[in-house]
């Protein structure tokens, strides 16, 4: 078998596509192989019900690195991000808490609940801006290994040290707290209005098996603050045509640079000879040669499925075994005949163009977590709800709507395991909880798609349904992601690389892992 490609990327998720685009851009003959009929991994748009298009899994965008947008000229290939302007939290007393696009409106709204918090929010926003600025360089950096004495690692550590020193004590201390505290404790230092703390802390639990009172959740909060759109931190948006259209734009950019993409091509294993990757074998039996194989799959699949773990050092295999996935979230996609009518804000107001957060109190979130801790899905879960058809009407037939409900907690390891009955019971819990705030919801549902972590794993391949390819917990971040000593996209097998969100800097439609991996590969080959 001859090497037909310079590089094969296993998995057509957005990081795999980004890696392929950068490799092709550097002149490497590159092939992307995707098992499913559609490219994008967890960033796919599918017509689940006739006429209704869903961002089936990942549903909003903010973290996509601006340098990737520029390097790959994504706007030319179809990138189009639409504003997602508000967040409304319905409260149990029939009132609501809103954050609007206009800062004065937001301030006045917050003043209704707590004038003190309204002031604090401004200063908190400034601090979060500084934190995002502090972390931003790290997102574009191959993690240096603090245990190594190699010149490149030392240079990286030195750069990092200088960067942190330049922050000054106030910001450094804040960063340290964010890295170690729970989001609830951290927010307690700032705010008094409980629904505000609950809604803010919600971004600290997304995708992790942590509650708002679990230490470490503050970092996930920060991870979601690192998003920037057009230079504005913490700006979130919708992609025109759903998140699948982002994957398509990246794929088009990759193809414009000469990369090939194949769907319906499941890779069975990576071919290894004498400690060197030589290509891949497809489930169909076809073998394709390449001098470099890049896995966009998560660490478990990369190190224990695609290759024989016996060929790998014991410490690595053990590290991967201990690496935490523990999928904790599900997704409910609803095709609606009309608009939901929220009791707290009746009618078709501007709040329907933004997010609706079901996070009425910290206790509500913590209790939702308690259910999951003991192996059950939350009877009353945290939900992040958006109606993409309000902003992009082409997602649904005229006058009809699609609703995307991100739900937490739904533990992968459910007591007794996930069954179709349990899945629908989970869907029922979601709709029933939603109906507490929008009573007409049940009468509007034309179709319901319920996705448990088990479904997410089955459809996308993400182990244990973890949306970040592994938790964003401090012990598996930066030079520890996925495993110490193997955090630089390299693997012990020569020519075999990793580029998924299971590597630094991790989850969200960010593309940074794919880009950094490709740059490392190109550097090592140069």
């Amino acid at each position: 078998m001859s090497a037909r490609y310079d590089a094969i990327v296993v998995g057509g998720g957005h990081n795999g596509l980004v890696a392929a685009a950068y490799l092709a851009r550097a002149g490497r003959k590159t092939l992307v192989l995707e098992r499913r009929p559609v490219l994008g991994g967890a960033a796919v748009t599918e017509e689940v019900f006739p006429g209704f298009k869903f961002s089936v899994f990942s549903y909003v965008v903010s973290l996509l690195r601006p340098e990737i947008i520029r390097d790959l000229e994504l706007p030319r290939h179809g990138l189009q991000i639409l504003p997602l302007e508000s967040t409304v939290t319905p409260l149990d007393n029939g009132d609501y808490l809103a954050s609007w696009a206009d800062p004065d409106e937001t301030r006045r709204e917050l003043c209704r609940h707590s004038p003190r918090d309204a002031d604090a929010a401004v200063v908190f926003g400034r601090l979060m801006h500084h934190m995002a600025m502090a972390v931003k360089p790290i997102l574009g950096m191959v993690p240096p290994d603090p245990a190594s004495l190699s010149p490149s690692d030392l240079a990286g550590l030195l750069k990092l040290g200088r960067h942190f020193r330049s922050l000054g004590p106030e910001r450094f201390h804040a960063l340290h707290k964010l890295m170690t505290m729970s989001s609830a404790d951290y927010l307690d230092e700032w705010f008094e209005f409980d629904p505000l703390k609950a809604t803010k802390s919600a971004s600290g639990i997304i995708g992790t098996f942590l509650g708002p009172r679990s230490p470490g959740s503050a970092y996930v909060l920060l991870h979601h603050y690192m998003g920037e759109i057009d230079g504005a931190f913490r700006a979130w948006g919708f992609h025109k045509g759903g998140t699948g259209a982002i994957s398509e734009a990246i794929a088009r950019a990759a193809r414009a640079h000469g990369a090939e993409t194949r769907t319906g091509a499941a890779v069975e294993r990576v071919l290894v000879r004498n400690g060197r990757a030589t290509g891949v074998a497809l489930a169909s039996g076809e073998e394709i040669g390449a001098s470099i194989v890049v896995s966009g799959l998560d660490p478990r699949l990369t190190f224990t499925r695609l290759v024989d773990p016996k060929d790998l050092p014991e410490a690595l295999v053990d590290g991967v075994r201990r690496y935490k996935f523990r999928g904790s979230s599900g997704k409910v996609n609803l095709a609606l005949a009309g608009l939901p009518d929220f009791t707290c804000l009746p009618g078709a107001g501007p709040h329907l163009r933004g997010a609706v957060s079901i996070s009425p109190s910290l206790e509500y979130l913590e209790r939702a977590y308690d259910d999951a801790k003991y192996g059950e899905f939350s009877r009353h879960p945290y939900m992040d709800i958006v109606l993409p058809s309000m902003i992009d009407p082409e997602m649904a037939p005229p006058g009809k709507h699609v609703m995307s409900v991100f739900v937490q907690y739904a533990p992968y390891h459910l007591n007794g395991g996930w069954t179709p009955t349990r899945r629908e019971a989970f869907g029922d819990a979601v709709v029933k909880t939603l109906a507490r705030y929008a009573p007409n919801i049940e009468s509007l549902i034309l179709h319901r798609q319920v996705l448990t972590p088990d479904d997410i794993e089955r459809i996308t391949g993400l182990s244990e349904g973890n949306i970040f390819q592994g938790e964003l917990a401090l012990q598996q971040l930066f030079f520890l992601r996925p495993v110490p000593e193997w955090a630089k996209y390299r693997t012990p097998i020569h020519g075999y690389w990793q580029c998924g969100a299971g590597t630094h800097p991790g989850g969200g439609i960010m593309g940074a892992s794919g880009r950094l991996a490709a740059l490392q590969i190109l550097r090592s080959a140069a």
């Binding site: 409106e105 902003i391 082409e394």
Partner: protein
Amino acid sequence: MLKTSPFHPRTAALVRAQTWRRWAGYQMASSYDPLPDREYAAIRSAAALLDVSPLYKYRITGRDAMRLLDRMVTRDMTKLKVGQVYYTPWCDGAGKVIDDGTVSRLGETTYRLTSADSSLRWLHMNAAGMEVAIEDLSERLGALSLQGPLSRAILSRLSAADLSALKYFRLLETTVRDIPVGISRTGYTGDLGYEIWVDASRAVALWDALIDAGTPFGITPAGVWALDIARVEAGLIMMDVDYFSAHHALIEQRKSSPFEINLGWAVAPSKGPFNGRRALAAERARGPRWSFVGLEIEWDSFERLYRAHGLPPQISNVAWRSSVPVYLGGRQVGYATSGCWSPLLKKPLALAHVQAPHFGAGTPLEIEVTVEHHRERAHAVVRKLPFFDPERKKA
């Protein structure tokens, strides 16, 4: 007291932040929301509804109507067919631009001219000795611009006319729920879009019909701020912002020929006598001293200027309209007159006047950027206009 448009009863109720502005003596919405992000997004993603009634509008009829217009404007009016629209500038005798607008041929001897500035006197002066009637419809005719990829779907629900057969820069007469209207496939956004012309007495009914039919398609009332971003992306020039009318310019240097403002394509190389013909022929032969081009500001250099102050780049949600110097190797070779952050192209853009020979596409220049009270220079590259030109515009 500023005038209000025939749509004012509806638009006034929607201007949440009271962000009004002047436009040709009218009080018009800058934006309906405090910021124009959503209104701009509608232009590129769904459909935006813009009140463009402040345009001046004239109806020109009679045996010599075509002769009058052909004498006045730079394009060849003998070629304009019934049901067709031309965009064109018009010049004084020295070949300097007075205004730009559209000429629609509504019938054999019936035309409609739109302009940014009042043009009645100029029309009458050019009509000397001709058999022609000139009627100022400016206040009697309301105009709405429906722009965006879903604009056709919305209009098709309201009108029996076959809009898919209406080509770019063509027009037709039809009714929208019994309201007689003219629909032209024109606009100021560089996107798929239509302008709808209606008698002022039926303006509010037309607005209501469009909102009603357009809501399932995400129709969004949009103001001048959103329009301004779209027109910069589309590379469309604006009088009093990007150039001075020869009738307003206090000094000669402020006047521009069509060649100097990227409208050379609209000067017919061979047609009968018209205002400025000789001067323009000479300029065509000589080559223009200036050109009006797109500048794309390089992000890395832009970001570096801010990073030096510990700041992320500051990006405004609205377009700017001011004169900003453009340099080549330390020497000023031009000036930008408008610009914006393009939410679609993810780049800072500018429209600029650049001296010969520095206006070729790809020429690296520098543009002044004020960062933290300091005047700095960012790298910028000359780009051919428009910056954004989707297929759907003409498809």
